[in-house]
Symmetry: C2
Subunit: 326 residues, 2 copies
């Protein structure tokens, strides 16, 4: 545990050293602001850990780790505009604190800063770094677009949903790890294994998020339990329930889905939908799927051609990610 915290401390220190005190202030201050809001720094931690796994010092891939974190925060700034979100990590979102135009443009500029940091590396590694980063970045855009498209669709399949969360969330965990592996000049086969580890852990993590949103202990959960149910979010649980429901259950689910917000008591809706979820056993099905992804990820890590001891920190992080109170 101590060792995982030390990565985060290094990342926080290096983020603070980035100097965005440039003009115009309306372009650069939002960058400093969003990066100061904290978070687990999971993606840059993975990048540093992968570099270390393949023999580099902890700080060897720090530029690429920061690139990944800045890219991630750029997507948060733009996603918050799209979702009209007022709050991010307990603080006002950039487009609310400044305005939408500033949020669009400082997001764009953060994207350039991410590239600047990414390519701060041995020139011979640039083609590989750029290939993985570009592919990951475009996939994250695709995932976000699918997520928006799904809001308006009523026929989203489980497979489509899994593809969406893979693109929107999971590939960036894989990409962060692979970038670290590239910096450490790991063999391509090992790079691909560590990418697969990250992607599958990412999928498991997202499925756990879906489960927690409904079944978390309200005392320990940071946000409103049942939020996804209230907003009709097409999670694994809802899609699976719609797939398995008999006529009566489908009718009741759709009744709750079709009620305009304000026309129902949130707690009543959450309890009613949860009863159907329980009857259809979708929590267990989601957990089974989650465990599958987790296992596939851990097996990929086991196949990486370095000693078992070196993998312990990554194993520990993966397990820590999955042990949240349900």
């Amino acid at each position: 545990m101590q060792s995982i915290i030390s990565y985060k401390e290094l990342i926080e220190k290096e983020l603070n050293l980035l100097d965005f005190h440039f003009e115009p202030a309306n372009l650069y201050e939002p960058m400093t602001y969003i990066l100061s809001l904290g978070g687990k720094r999971m993606r840059p931690t993975l990048c540093l850990m992968a570099a270390e796994l393949f023999g580099l010092d902890k700080s060897g891939a720090i530029s690429q780790a920061l690139a990944v974190e800045i890219f991630h925060n750029f997507t948060l700034v733009h996603d918050d505009i799209m979702d009209e979100a007022p709050i991010r990590r307990g603080k006002t979102t950039v487009h609310k604190k400044w305005d939408q135009n500033i949020a669009i443009l400082s997001g764009d500029a953060m994207f350039v800063k991410a590239y600047e940091l990414l390519v701060d590396a041995d020139p011979k590694l640039l083609p590989s770094l750029l290939k993985i980063f570009n592919r990951t970045a475009i996939e994250v855009c695709e995932g976000q677009q699918y997520d928006m498209d799904f809001e308006a669709r009523e026929d989203v399949s489980i497979d489509e949903y899994l593809k969406m969360i893979e693109l929107k969330t999971a590939v960036l965990l894989g990409g962060a790890l692979q970038l670290g592996a590239i910096i450490a000049e790991a063999p391509v086969h090992d790079q691909e294994l560590i990418y697969a580890f990250g992607k599958n852990i990412g999928l498991a993590f997202q499925l756990q998020d879906d489960i927690l949103d409904v079944y978390a202990d309200p005392e320990k959960f940071g946000k409103q339990v049942g939020g996804d149910i209230i907003s009709n979010k097409k999670t694994f649980l809802l899609l699976k329930a719609l797939e398995l429901a008999d006529e009566n259950q489908k009718e009741e689910l759709n009744k709750w889905i079709d009620l305009p917000s304000g026309d129902f008591d949130p707690e009543e809706k959450v309890n009613a939908v949860k009863l159907i979820f329980d009857a259809l056993n979708v929590k267990d099905l989601a957990q089974t799927k989650m465990d599958e992804y987790f296992q596939v990820g851990m097996e990929a890590l086991q196949k990486v051609n370095v000693s078992k001891e070196k993998k312990e920190t990554l194993e520990e992080l993966a397990e820590q990610l999955m042990v949240r109170d349900i």
Copy 2:
């Protein structure tokens, strides 16, 4: 002239060959759409010409030329959101034809596509290509932010205005040329000269735009003459007039500036402001400044260490850019 057209034809052909027919359609169709709206393709033409100037075949820097054009179109998609512009090149803008979220996200994805094309080059050239492209991209963001900031400020100086148009418009012409020069492996000194040529021609071009907006022949001008005056745009002409105006003239200018739109006859406002512009001779002052930049640009081109004949196409293009009916 024939030769300049042949570059544009090559660029159109190659843009058509780019295959954006991917899923999700809402991410990729806006890219195809905005790139199909045409335009002069000035920036990619400059990139190809610079590569040719330093000994490459016309198509030698085609990937980088397309990268510059796609980057430029990405900025147009995001700028049109910020400006709430309904029309671009006579067609509906992306955020109006689809919606704002799609415009934000497909713009982001275009930015990645620009990087993908940029780095399709000999790996040894990547550090130079990325350095120039990243610097140019961040400067274009800075320029756009200054432009937005200036709308709300009443104390914009001429120097600040010139810096803004340099960042927002001129550096991309310089950058396009330098990227072509890098691909042709031109010496750094020549790269810097060709960059200076493009930047200064770009500044001259933008000043000419300011002049044309007020003094163009309405029969030949594509848009409403006087549009900048009607919208109180802080152009070189208005800023210079405010700088030189005596108390009475300043009072009259500010009277027109402060009138809410709808509370004045547009033609009357244009004529009144134009009378003050004429009394203060700001058109000539703008033309003098424009000629200065043009000369500095042409001198930089002359210093480039290649034969005079090879520079003729670029000279011709620069002159063609500046010969628009006033």
